[in-house]
């Protein structure tokens, strides 16, 4: 019975449409820097201490913030929900919980590095496939869990 359930739910996870991630990469991050610096430094105004302005509104900070946005997009629960469906979302989180609990560092590293792919302008397809795989493994673990 459990195997049948795993097969059915896995099929549901696999046939979910692949949503597209927002366009967010190294180029968009670079493009965002000049207007943001100009805008933020203008708001600071002439009277603001120049060192403080440079310290708080600089290329590194803005680039880091843009990188953060791109990175976080891959962990957006709505992205995962549209990719895997409601059941897949739950089992994906269960899988993540399992790898963290069992300290499976190589898999944790994969999970942490995956968002770099779209940021570096590689295809996001591996993310979609690996997330589906994670969800299915999570599903198998969840259903085969002894009571």
């Amino acid at each position: 019975m459990k195997i049948i359930l795993i097969i059915i739910f896995s099929a549901i996870i696999l046939v979910q449409a692949n949503p597209s991630l927002p366009i967010c990469n190294v180029n968009t991050a670079k493009q965002a820097i000049p207007p943001r610096i100009f805008y933020e430094q203008t708001i600071d105004g002439k009277d603001q201490n120049i060192l403080l302005t440079r310290f708080l509104h600089n290329k590194i900070g803005i680039y880091a913030s843009e990188f953060g946005k791109c990175y976080a997009n891959v962990f957006d629960p709505n992205f995962i929900y549209h990719l895997l469906g409601a059941i897949g979302l739950v089992t994906w989180f269960y899988f993540v919980y399992l790898i963290a609990k069992r300290r499976l560092y190589p898999i944790i590293a994969i999970l942490a590095v995956l968002p770099m792919l779209p940021f570096l302008k590689f295809s996001p397809l591996p993310i979609l496939l690996i997330y589906k795989l994670f969800a299915i493994i999570g599903l198998a673990f969840l259903l085969s869990k002894p009571k």
Binding site: D44, L52, G61, G68, A72, F75, N78, K101
Partner: protein, 500 residues
Amino acid sequence: MKSFLTRNVVLIVIMALAAALRFYQLGQNPPSLFVDEVSNGYNAYSILKTGRDEYGNFLPLVVRSFGDYNPPLSAYLLIPSIAAFGLNEIGVRFPSALLGTLTVLTTYFLAFKLLGKKKIALLSSFLLAISPWHLQFSRYDHEANFMVFFGVLGVTLFLNCSKNLRVLVASTVLFGLALNSYQGAKIWIPILMATVFLFYHKEILSFKYKLISPFIILFLFCLPIILNFKTSLIRGQSVGILAQKNPLETFITGYLAHYNPNFLFISGDSTGRHSIPGMGELYVFEAPLVILGLLFLIGQKTMGPKFILAWLLVAAIPPATATPTPHALRGLSVIPIWSIIAACGAYVILSSKIKDNFKKGITVALILIASYNIITYFHLYYIHYPKEKALDWSDGYKEMIQTVDNIKDDYSSIAISTYYGHPYIFTLFYSKYDPAKYQSQSADKTKFAKFEFFGPSWKKTKPGKALVITPPWQAHPDNVLKQIYSINGDLRFTISQTQI
């Protein structure tokens, strides 16, 4: 006394910090009073002076405001503050700042009771004291902030009731107050109470027949909603998801949106009054702490951590029943929980058995990132925010009304454009118009006394000179008396007069 102070010195410092951050420049930043604050303030002033709201309702159980019917607690809480400080920014914002500060203290006791660790409790209250999300809503008058305080205090008292009926009754009263504080509380407080019951039903049911008194109290607090049931639904009908094409899908995506890391750590809520541009609702340095904290809590077997996780999961239900999402204001009830989770993460690092040098390295790196985050936040809040979001705070109205109030006796009529929304309430508030006089003319929102409020164009109906106040783009008489500028330098109002 001395030993109490020495034992709690860290908590006292945290509380002083929380108070300083909530009260400093309270009247100046956010830059002006928003229309809802003004409405709430004037209604409180009206009740203080006459016992009636602006519509003449005696001690109202719902407060009518621009076609909406709000729970009454917020207006009543403002009365002592307005009596003490007057009808101004401090008078209106003081209760929110005070209860916001006390929420930090309540969170300390909540975290301590749920997790039994003083370090986590102190870290929780510290993170809440400096939280951009909580500071944003503690520095202006909004009912959601009151709901959070009464809700958290209600749960904390309940957890401490240990078969003491009086404490249980006090806890019920607090839940009742929270229920009457904010529109969203009508969904959130029942959910919170159901969650409490789910986890602690044995303790609750052990009171047996004595439960009748909390039930009666709760029923009494539900009366304002029951007696005004139709009007209670108006807000829900206007923002609720039932009007959407696919309500279930809207609910799910709305629910999940509140856990989006971009919303939490990078961009925040897009509404100008809800967060600072360039900041998430939480600090970026809290992201790894939240992950570690979640793992710590999931690994615990006791009731407290499970209750925290349940609170985290149910808190996004009320905001998901409305649009737009994610919504920092409607989701405010989760804020003490994020602080507790991040505090657990910090506790994990501090108490971990990893090599000392490595631990020091991580701690120093986190402190450096945290310092940069915090400095950036305060810079954005005090320097950027008033300039960037002046329009969201109805900036310019105060100066305009005060200018008009000084010269109004020279004119037979004063016409104010409705372009920026609800000028009548700003006029009442900033001119401190006698509520007793206004109540009799409150049905017509297009005029009172010599004030008239007009849309696209205004037609003179009375003989004598008239004062006309328009936004910069609108046609006005040639004789311009004064132009009112916003804090960011934008022209907001032109005050001009007719020749005859």
